[in-house]
């Protein structure tokens, strides 16, 4: 995927140009103009840095639950509750777990087994906005609602305002249901 490389390089060059640009210096008499290396938050940017979270230092540890690459998040589309005051399986204080949910199946690299994971949303506060991830293994359109993630699973709660998403293991995949 050369396009990604090129994109990165282009941005790096753009920043470098900005650094050396004489006009940047001219603006120093005013406030903070030169700091605007702001790229928009991308709908598909899986990096925790995208919306403030763990620093994206280039590692992608499948055992670090504050990163999109964490193995349980293989079909998680939303903000990681681990970056929002919750844990892998608990909602942040001040929020409510969703009453309905959908299911993914993820491979645990530690024991080599596949697990069924419930992607509950946490609801009712303002959106957390941190550590956005967009993983879609086994995800299907809305006519397969039980495995669909482009919808707000807070929909059944008293307040359906989305905050973040947890990943709760329901059991091993091979041994049931599948």
């Amino acid at each position: 995927m050369k396009w990604l490389d090129e994109f990165i390089e282009r941005k790096a060059r753009a920043v470098a140009q900005q650094t050396s640009r004489r006009s940047a210096l001219l603006r120093i008499g005013r406030v903070l103009v030169g700091t605007a290396f702001v790229l928009p938050v991308l709908p598909f940017d899986r990096s925790p840095r995208a919306q403030h979270g763990a620093v994206d230092d280039g590692k992608h540890d499948p055992l670090d639950p504050q990163r999109c690459e964490y193995w349980r998040y293989c079909a998680l589309d939303g903000h990681l509750c681990t970056c929002c005051g919750g844990t892998i399986t608990s909602c942040p204080p001040g929020t409510e777990p969703s009453s309905v949910t959908w299911i993914g199946t993820c491979h645990n690299p530690e024991d080599g087994k596949d697990y069924l994971v419930s992607y509950n949303d946490c609801c009712g506060s303002a959106s957390c906005g941190r550590c956005f991830c967009n993983e879609n293994e086994g995800e299907r359109p809305g006519y397969r609602m039980g495995v669909h993630n482009d919808i707000n699973w807070c929909m059944g709660n008293e307040s359906s305002v989305y905050h973040c998403t947890v990943s709760v293991i329901l059991g091993q995949s091979g041994s049931a249901g599948g």
């Binding site: 396009w3 928009p40 991308l42 939303g78 903000h79 809305g142 482009d150 989305y162």
Partner: protein, 381 residues
Amino acid sequence: MRATTILSGGLALLLGLGAARAELGPEKLTINPLKPATPHRIYLTDLVLGHVIDGRIHVIDGDSFDYLGLIPTGLFGLTALSNDSSEMYVATTYYTKRNRGDRFDLFEVYDTATLELEAEVEIPAKHAQALPYKGTLTSTSDGRFVLIQNSTPASSISIVDRPAEKFVAEIDTPGCWIMLPSASNARRFSTLCGDGTILTITLDETGKAASQQRSGKLFNAENDPLFVQAESIGDTYYFVSYEGMIHEINLGGETAVTEATWSLLDAADRDGHWKPGGYQLLALDAKAGRLYVGMHDEARDGSHKFPAKELWAFDINTKKRVQRIEGSNSIAMSLSDEDEPYLYVYDGMTTEFVKYETLPALKPVARSGPFGEFAGLIELH
């Protein structure tokens, strides 16, 4: 310090200044009229997940790429232009206390000539709080009834009588999703179901379901599901599957009928694991007979929302690819409504638009600045 002689309530104090010998002013504060629409006016629906109660539609001039204004859409608002583009429809959720209190849902009509609210209709408090895919909110072909996808997560459809500004019916559609109106029958629409069938619903003149007919199994929702975004010529809808099969399905009759299926891929494409991907990944030029699809290689389970590495153009008569070109990371695309249409593509990495000429061949001709934060649906006026 120059301004401290102006006391609190400065404007009132200063209204007499018109007589001052100023080279500029005094000026009048007005409301800028919206520039008349062109076929290149873009509506970009932005869910703003990080501040999810504050969704909006960005209205953008697709020639100058000037920002023209916005329409607020609130919490997971669904959006769609009316058939004649004179109105923007929004179905959204409110709470009596912003993010708490009691929920109520409204269907709202905004005038696309002014961006002002024209009408609002209370609807069942279950509109689908979904990514606003095309077809989650739509109209019958005559514009009389507006169809709104619900989810609790049980699926149903709310029917609003647009001229009467009234909610008239709710139709249960368990396990089905998206609404696809028939062009030839203004009371008919269909919806895709999780068992691979298509459910066709015909309304009566009051908007209630007069009949519901389920097709046989037309697609494999398990192994090769159809993306829900579909484009049509007359009653024939073009769907694309995860594996790159085009399904041409006629939705004009009482029961949906497959007219043709064909593959986007040749042997070399399969070797490279090329697959379709994105959110709004298809565009169809009925007049020229061209179909455009966003494609990426090295596809794997879960890559079906990947931005386009390439755009592929097909001749829908010969069912052959006629062009492949760099894809601008498209995650959404739409053709302008004109004889020689432009294809507008939304770059999911930079959030910029890329404008392509389409005839005789796709050719990028302009790129915008960034717009939106969490967007994946484009409509053109």
